[in-house]
């Protein structure tokens, strides 16, 4: 036991920082040399934005190879993620860097960018929606502003990529601010019903007629 710990410590000291967590969590699918295996794609051109997005949203490390589970919350401690990112960046530099965005963009312009580029997948209220097959664009409600920006630049999964020549940093900040603001927006009448399509409305319409019929049933013959 002591020996094993000692060996690990020596290995950790001897190897570049981050190699051990990379070997532990990533190498089985992406390969010790980052070139990918039959279980997972190469990370040589992944870029920091993509790596950070996958790790921070808990899409990686995946429980089953090739199966991304969607947003399930960060799985690894911050320090481990930083170490893995640093290691990958040291072996395979380049790719899309982690975008630096802060809130405080123009919400109106952000909405315009969202409507033109994001809404047809993520939905009117960013609740997420089907994009065909068994796949769906996820809800954007529990995400951080950095994660939104990373996804836009890196295009995880089936999502297209939006480079800086298409959406500049100002547009990126605006749309990230808009998405972030969605969580804080209040509907006027406040019963929480999905506000992105009429299916719930039909259900409530039928409930109303059902309630009226029940009332009539109780009332008639009295």
């Amino acid at each position: 036991m002591t020996l094993a710990l000692g060996l690990a410590a020596v290995l950790a000291l001897a190897s570049p920082p981050g190699q051990l967590p990379y070997a532990t969590y990533c190498a089985s699918c992406h390969g010790a040399d980052l070139r990918g295996t039959s279980n997972g794609p190469s990370l040589r051109n992944a870029g920091a934005a993509s790596v950070d997005f996958e790790l921070v949203t808990g899409r990686m490390p995946a429980a089953v190879p090739w199966i991304e589970v969607g947003h399930r919350g960060q799985q690894l401690p911050d320090a481990t993620i930083k170490a893995i990112e640093a290691y990958i960046a040291s072996v395979a530099p380049g790719g899309t860097p982690i975008p630096v965005v802060t809130a405080g963009g123009d919400v109106a312009n952000g909405r315009e960018v969202y409507v033109e580029n994001c809404r047809h997948c993520h939905g009117v209220d960013a609740d997420g929606a089907s994009v065909g097959g068994a796949e769906w664009a996820p809800s954007l409600h529990r995400t951080s502003i950095t994660q939104v920006a990373e996804a836009i630049r890196a295009g995880p999964g089936q999502m297209p990529r939006f480079g800086a020549r298409q959406l500049d940093d100002r547009a990126l900040r605006d749309v990230a601010t808009y998405v972030f603001a969605l969580d804080r927006r209040e509907a006027t009448p406040r019963v929480p019903v999905a506000r992105d399509n009429p299916v719930p409305e039909g259900l409530f319409g039928w409930l109303a007629i059902g309630a009226l019929a029940l009332a009539a049933y109780a009332f008639a013959r009295h």
């Binding site: 209220d125 992105d196 039909g202 013959r221």
Partner: protein, 441 residues
């Protein structure tokens, strides 16, 4: 006192008292299922009341429609509520018509001499649905615009005259400059007037021919409550309850948040894209329809023609002709003032259940993409499932419903029969039992 003078004024000129006396003494039914049609009637009253208000604040043009809706919705709580209650009333209106139609179907109230009332009722359902769809389209938002685009494609798909019809509606190519004005005049004038006329005839026939009833005895009389004051108060209660429900929905749950959808452009779309519930069965049919484009004399007949045009036409013909189909099946054409309890005719229950199931399957298919996300399955798997369920599920549900109804009828008949054969068990000398007629004490 004023009422007396008004009454005198008209009576002196028209002799109207005899008629008023007749109306006040007229009998109305006292069964809960007869209120279903009244729900629809009072939803229509709410629709007209709120709709008239809305005509004063809505701008019927492609340039101004969306902005005017946002403006009056934001300006006052009255504007907001008017639009909310108008849309909720429309959703409930068509639901009430469908439930009422179901009641009439399952109790065979459509039989002679009420076939005309049935036909008028089915026409009301169709007119109400089209009115709903045109109204839903008027705000010119992204969601309804997408629906209009699909309706345009269906219109366009009609052989030979499709292009002409679409051009007529659009006033040019899609989306034409006259589309919103056309929809507006159709929605606020042509269709409401049609509904009003159909409703007047429908109710006039109910008034003139008197209502059906479950009570079989005595023959050739109608049973019920007097209109004044008994039924007047009751129908007033139904009106206020209906008004209360649609107002409550309007106050609490946001419907058709067009501000959220944004104005329409033919290159923008929302996701999920689904229509209001009463149009969903057609959208579901478009999703399930086969990807085939046949050519007839070298001309294409687009895939949307079959599910979008042929299917609803066939469904309409089937429903509208039902009284005559029913006559053919039952080989009976006598006067049917006395209703048939649903269980008494299991085959009709089966047909009805099958038709309802077919409609429900198509309606469900219209949100298959949302279900695929919820169930983590492929959309195409659900399409296949619904394609199977549409014919076979409907038939299966129809058969099961018919068998259940037959079973219920049998068990009721059995219970009745047993009640007639009440016996007294008496111990006999061998230790067993003998049955004998009960003797009164």
């Amino acid at each position: 006192m004023i009422l007396r003078r008004v009454d005198r004024f008209f009576d002196e000129r028209l002799g109207s008292d005899a008629w008023v006396r007749y109306v006040f003494a007229k009998l109305y039914p006292d069964h809960w299922s007869f209120y279903l049609g009244e729900f629809a009637l009072y939803c229509f009253v709410m629709l007209v009341a709120t709709g008239v208000w809305l005509t004063f604040v809505f701008q019927p043009s492609h340039a101004g429609a969306f902005a005017s809706v946002i403006a009056f919705t934001r300006a006052t709580p009255v504007g907001y509520l008017m639009r909310q209650v108008h849309h909720w009333s429309a959703v409930a209106f068509i639901a009430a018509i469908v439930v009422h139609l179901g009641r009439v179907f399952f109790t065979a109230a459509f039989r002679k001499p009420r076939e005309i009332t049935w036909v008028l009722g089915v026409l009301l359902l169709v007119t109400a649905s089209v009115t709903g769809f045109t109204g839903y389209s008027l705000p010119d938002d992204t969601l309804s615009g997408t629906g209009l685009r699909i309706a345009d494609a269906v219109l366009l798909s009609i052989p030979f005259i499709g292009g002409w019809a679409a051009d007529l509606l659009n006033g040019g190519g899609y989306p034409g400059p006259l589309l919103i004005p056309h929809l507006y005049v159709i929605h606020v004038y042509f269709l409401p007037v049609t509904i009003g006329a159909l409703l007047a005839l429908h109710l006039g026939l109910v008034f003139y021919q008197k209502h059906t009833q479950f009570e079989p005895d005595p023959a050739h009389v109608v049973v019920g409550r007097r209109f004044w004051p008994d039924y007047t108060l009751r129908t007033l209660a139904v009106f206020f309850a209906t008004a209360g429900v649609v107002t409550l929905l309007g106050a609490l749950i946001e419907i058709n948040p067009v501000e959220n959808y944004g104005p329409y452009h033919d290159w923008l779309v929302t996701n999920p894209a689904a229509p209001d519930w009463y149009a969903a069965w057609l959208d579901g049919a478009l999703r399930l329809g086969p990807a085939v484009e046949w050519r007839i004399f070298g001309h294409p007949v687009p895939a949307v023609f079959w599910p979008g045009m042929v299917l609803p036409t066939l469904a309409f013909l089937l429903v509208v002709a039902w009284p005559w189909i029913d006559k053919t099946i039952t080989k009976r054409d006598e006067v049917g003032d006395v209703l048939v309890p649903p269980t008494a005719a299991p085959w009709r229950v089966g047909v009805g259940a099958a038709l309802v199931t077919a409609g429900v399957v198509l309606t469900l298919a219209a949100s298959d993409d949302q279900q695929a996300v919820g169930a983590h399955v492929r959309v195409t798997a659900l399409v296949t499932l619904y394609r199977i369920l549409f014919p076979f599920g409907s038939i299966a549900v129809g058969l099961i419903a018919a068998l259940l109804a037959a079973e219920l009828r049998a068990s009721r008949a059995g219970r009745g029969a047993e009640r007639e054969r009440v016996v007294e068990l008496v111990r006999n000398a061998e230790g067993g039992f003998d049955a004998r007629e009960p003797h009164s004490t």
